[in-house]
Symmetry: C2
Subunit: 342 residues, 2 copies
Amino acid sequence: MQNDKRLGKRTIIFPSKPKIISACSLVVPEEYNGPLQKYFVNKVQDDTMNQKTYEKAERKMLTKVIDGAISARQVKDTDVQMLIGGDLLNQIISTSFSARETQIPLLGVYSACSTMSESLAVGAMAVDGGYASTVACGTVSHFSSAERQYRTPLEQGSQRPAVSQWTVTGAGCSVISSAGSGPAITRATFGKVIDFGVTDVNNMGAAMAPACADTLQAFFQDTNASPKDYDMILSGDLGYLGSELLCDLLLDRNIDITKNHRDCGVLIYPKDTDKFQGGSGAGCSASVFNSYIYKKLMQKRIKKMLFLATGALLSTTSSMQGETIPGISHLVEIECGKKEEV
Amino acid sequence: MQNDKRLGKRTIIFPSKPKIISACSLVVPEEYNGPLQKYFVNKVQDDTMNQKTYEKAERKMLTKVIDGAISARQVKDTDVQMLIGGDLLNQIISTSFSARETQIPLLGVYSACSTMSESLAVGAMAVDGGYASTVACGTVSHFSSAERQYRTPLEQGSQRPAVSQWTVTGAGCSVISSAGSGPAITRATFGKVIDFGVTDVNNMGAAMAPACADTLQAFFQDTNASPKDYDMILSGDLGYLGSELLCDLLLDRNIDITKNHRDCGVLIYPKDTDKFQGGSGAGCSASVFNSYIYKKLMQKRIKKMLFLATGALLSTTSSMQGETIPGISHLVEIECGKKEEV
């Protein structure tokens, strides 16, 4: 094949190194009062965003970070040609209704809480391939809309089990461009749907860890890279338990990521709160990546990293029909641009 | 920008002309007893597919057409590197669970009933860009799973209004490759989310027609092409009423597609049945395109066409919260390969 941008079985390369030229996140008190407080710029006191429903609040959050990331970009004279994103609500309505506001052509994607890294991978493909000069990639989640859609009515006040995670109320958006400066997306690996037979809808970390391990192993096999080549290997929202499982699964395959592995779900909340295993939701990795991580990349405190958001592919229908919960995890490799490149 | 594959404001071009090297569809009696009878190869008598639920039947249909399209492809020694698809069920579970079976890396997309053309556009981008040599693009819908998710329990036996359409029980999958022969995907235009304020959840044609008109107009502006350059301009599932609206909206903009416009929702069922305005659902355009249309392209009875599947971006939650129903439509241009190219 001419113009081959494949590496090994599943990894793709972006020779033009598309840059993440801006990033924007937004969170509410539950999140901005945590350990990443000083990295969250857009803090919203009221999680209803002055809207009548949580679902309307959720889409307003997404619209705000898309607008924020686009207005913060350096290349002012370039249109944003594609909006790439999805969310957890049925029929990704947060994303669709946000795209109605922004009027950017929408490429709707879905991989549950792996949507942020899927969007970045597809966005890098669009820019590196020459199909767009600038794209926006974003996603969102809201504790109160997710809880009532996936689990129980908020008013019921159900007790949460110890393996549970807390859906982050937050949004994040990255703008990727062929021009401008910023951390570059250099390679990506799309995830397979991996099922280890987990059926506990409260234990998402255990459902997603095997998929994350599979994608990471595939990437290392394809590229001959190893964990020590990276300052950080960042998973999406495995939480404490899922992170342990990920490291164990990989140690069994002779891959040791224990030193440089971090997880957005672990980073976002203080330990020993009512968040139990940590944060989850598409907005978890989206808000952490587009604040704390992006800042570290821009400061070159992180020079080279892997970002694997992680998704659990269930619906209330699939669970009620007795299905197990498969997971998926899409990987992007990110390097902060060297001086001569930016 | 080097390597620019953009044309005008929104259209992208695929210079390597990725080929649709195989296609597979599957329908049940409601569909194969209609006007396209002789074009449907895989006819399934039992719409439960021997499964316990309609949702499980739906995903089995999708798995079958993916397997069918892959095993029918001419380039046997090439892996399929990406499965690109989505469906109407919450959290696209039909696609996710199908991908669990096929174990092809999944790029989940969602644009309601526009998913077939979105998948083809993203697939063409992946192949033309060199990120994959072969990809499979598929989607599915099932009358009985859609009806109970979006409208009313089947057992209720609600009367259907005259503006309603009938969700097609069917699936379709296309395999796109850089090698091999078949109709080529030459250009694409991603749709914007367009909202004309329709609120009737039974009148999907009216909700989607404005989005289809917008994308088509953008494509003609970008390319300087006109309707007479095409043997067929095929919309997804506007039905009779939506098709009339589409033609009227475009006539108002001095674009006359009345001579060569066809609609999958109109083609699939006989007129004057209980299907009222015709077929709908992601499986409508997927099954019609991957049977009747693909055959006509292979026979060179259609030499050049535009395919715009059309999606209505609602959920039960958005409608119950008083939202209008925006639409989206993604366009792909398809040419049957000339003799020297195949």
